[in-house]
């Protein structure tokens, strides 16, 4: 048996899921091992990509367009690495956060199937294969959303399921139109295609489907309730990782397929702007901490779409880098923030924002983690979020698109405002009626979110190597 890093990246979580489901009592240990092996496979793959640029593997020995090939370039590996690293830390956090035996035995198989699906998306070069992968992700993600079993979570999960199915069906219809026009489904076929009516229809269908899956304003209606009502580790996975899969597909497809004209790019940016402002206002009004964090995800998704549109159609060859940086930054910071919010809720006993300053219990480390994550999400230096936002605005200024700069600034101010609501609650002590519990809430469970939050800030210092890494194998240059 001969192995290769890409196959291992897919099969390690898959076999992990099977074993964790078969042996529920050993699910934690099996799950952790599977996530670790997957991480090792990604490191192995990263070394291969560093050495040779993009690597491809035609599964079954059938070259595309008949067969399906896997391909890894700098951008894929960056997404895989973010997924594996965030996934590992959330897994460690889940060890402590999930104490209920029922939740634990279902969490691991579902999370590992989710990991299989996401890794599959980042390695795929075939649009029908992407459809199957987003369905693997969707079913596992809905399973994780309703893990807590509360009525609110079940309702949110059902809405999420409807949105997911609809998004996938729009995407599938798009696949049908691509086949109708081109007679093939691989990326290489899309790149060489001439613009046509059927391809424009396909692109429109797929973009709307993906916008629904990634919750781009105004198709975000399902996200806040789903992400706010899941258990903390599930929320961290859903917000930090799951929405990124559809964003990544969006990035690839819009770059590969012939775009009708700049109107579409501007429209996408405008929807992004709508998300930044509407999401910001909703985050200001949110009563519960986890709901605020969920609305901040809507804002960040909008920002990523603005990054995509920042320099118009001519700038697309550069804009994806700003979008990719923001995707990575948000993945790490949002996972940290949701885990921290879960810890705060566990320790304080509730997550009503207005009551936070009345609490005598102050889970200091979790609060500190929350603040660090907020720094990256607001976009203060030296965090990775700052580099992403800066690269967004730099490109917009260079193209003379001051409206995108303006929207980004407004979004930043809004985010300062809504995160301040929370941070003020952490720092005020004058409304506390009981003796303060000293050193409350220092727990091993704080290690995972803190590590994530520190990484979100520290990765900003590594922005230059990250940028040169994602360009390896020319993700959007000439395809082999």
């Amino acid at each position: 048996m001969q192995s290769d890093p890409m196959t291992l990246t897919l099969f390690a979580p898959l076999f992990g899921a099977i074993l964790a489901f078969l042996f529920p009592r050993a699910a934690r240990a099996l799950g952790l091992v599977a996530v670790l092996v997957t991480g090792g496979a990604v490191v192995w793959l990263a070394r291969a990509v560093l050495a040779e640029g993009a690597v491809t593997l035609a599964l079954g020995g059938w070259a595309p367009p008949l067969g399906i090939s896997l391909r890894a370039d700098g951008l894929s590996v960056a997404m895989l690495a973010m997924t594996a690293a965030v996934g590992l830390l959330v897994s460690l956090g889940a060890l402590d956060a999930l104490r209920d035996a029922r939740q634990t035995r279902y969490f691991w198989p579902l999370w590992l199937l989710l990991l299989t699906g996401m890794n599959g998306v980042y390695l795929s070069t075939d649009i029908f294969n992407l459809y199957v992968m987003i369905e693997v992700i969707a079913l596992a993600a809905v399973g994780l959303t309703v893990l807590s079993g509360t009525r609110a979570a079940l309702r949110a999960g059902l809405e999420y399921m409807y949105a997911s199915i609809l998004g996938a069906l729009l995407f599938l219809m798009g696949v049908g139109f691509v086949y109708l026009q081109l007679g093939r489904l691989d990326f290489a076929g899309l790149i060489t295609a001439e613009p046509s009516g059927a391809l424009s229809a396909a692109l429109a269908l797929m973009v709307v489907g993906l916008a629904l899956k990634t919750a781009l304003f105004p198709l975000h209606f399902w996200l806040p309730a789903a992400h706010a009502n899941a258990t903390a580790p599930a929320s961290a996975l859903l917000s930090g990782l799951v929405v990124k899969a559809a964003l990544y597909i969006f990035l690839r497809l819009t770059t590969y397929m012939p775009l009708p004209d700049e109107v579409l790019v501007t429209l996408i940016g405008t929807l992004g702007a709508g998300a930044v402002i509407w999401g910001g206002i909703q985050a200001l009004r949110a009563e519960r901490l986890k709901l605020l964090v969920a609305w901040s995800t809507v804002v960040q998704i909008g920002l990523i779409f603005i990054a995509f549109a920042r320099a118009g159609q001519v700038g697309l060859t550069e804009s994806w880098k700003a979008a990719a940086l923001l995707i990575l930054a948000h993945g790490v910071a949002k996972a940290a923030m949701f885990l921290a919010a879960g810890r705060i809720k566990d320790e304080v006993g509730h997550d009503t924002i207005r009551e936070l300053d009345k609490s005598a219990i102050r889970p200091t480390l979790a609060q500190f983690t929350f603040a660090l994550a907020a720094i990256s999400l607001i976009g203060l230096p030296p965090s990775l979020g700052f580099i992403g936002k800066w690269s967004l605005m730099e490109g917009a200024m260079a193209a003379g698109y001051w409206h995108w700069v303006g929207v980004t600034m407004i979004g930043t101010l809004l985010s300062v405002a809504y995160f301040s609501r929370v941070l003020a609650g952490f720092l005020r002590f004058d409304r506390v009626r009981a003796p303060l519990g000293e050193h409350q809430g220092w727990a091993l469970a704080d290690v995972a979110p803190l590590t994530l939050a520190v990484s979100a800030i520290g990765l900003g210092l590594l922005a230059a190597p990250i940028l040169s890494f994602i360009e390896l194998g020319y993700p959007f240059g000439a395809m082999p």
Binding site: L66, F128, Y131, V132, E135, A138, L139, V142, G143, V146, R151, L154, R155, G157, L158, M161, Y162, S164, I165, L166, A168, L169, L172, M173, V175, G176, F177, Y179, L180, G183
Partner: protein
């Protein structure tokens, strides 16, 4: 007029009907039905795209894709229906 044109337009119309149903149906079960209609519409388009004027045989690849799509859809439907059953039981308990 050939079957591909007739059934192509049929599929697109069914897809659009399902789309509208999924967006505005209020009943939970009816929304599942609407989504299922949309999936059959998408299946129509792929099967039509595979059709070749006789005596040529159709392209087998889209057929395989539609079969995959059908299995994926029944999985998603089953999960949605399980959620509906659970929710309805809980809501009936609340109402008692």
């Amino acid at each position: 007029m050939t079957p591909d044109i007739i059934y192509g337009v049929t599929g697109i119309a069914v897809f659009a009907i399902g789309l509208v149903g999924a967006l505005c149906a209020q009943d939970r079960l009816r929304r599942v039905l609407a989504l299922k209609l949309a999936s059959v519409g998408a299946g129509f388009v792929l099967v039509v795209a595979a059709w070749r004027a006789p005596p040529a045989a159709p392209d087998p690849v889209p057929h395989a894709l539609v079969i995959t799509g059908i299995v994926v859809m029944v999985s998603a439907t089953a999960v949605a229906l399980a959620l509906i059953r659970r929710l309805q039981s809980l809501e009936a308990e609340d109402a008692e």
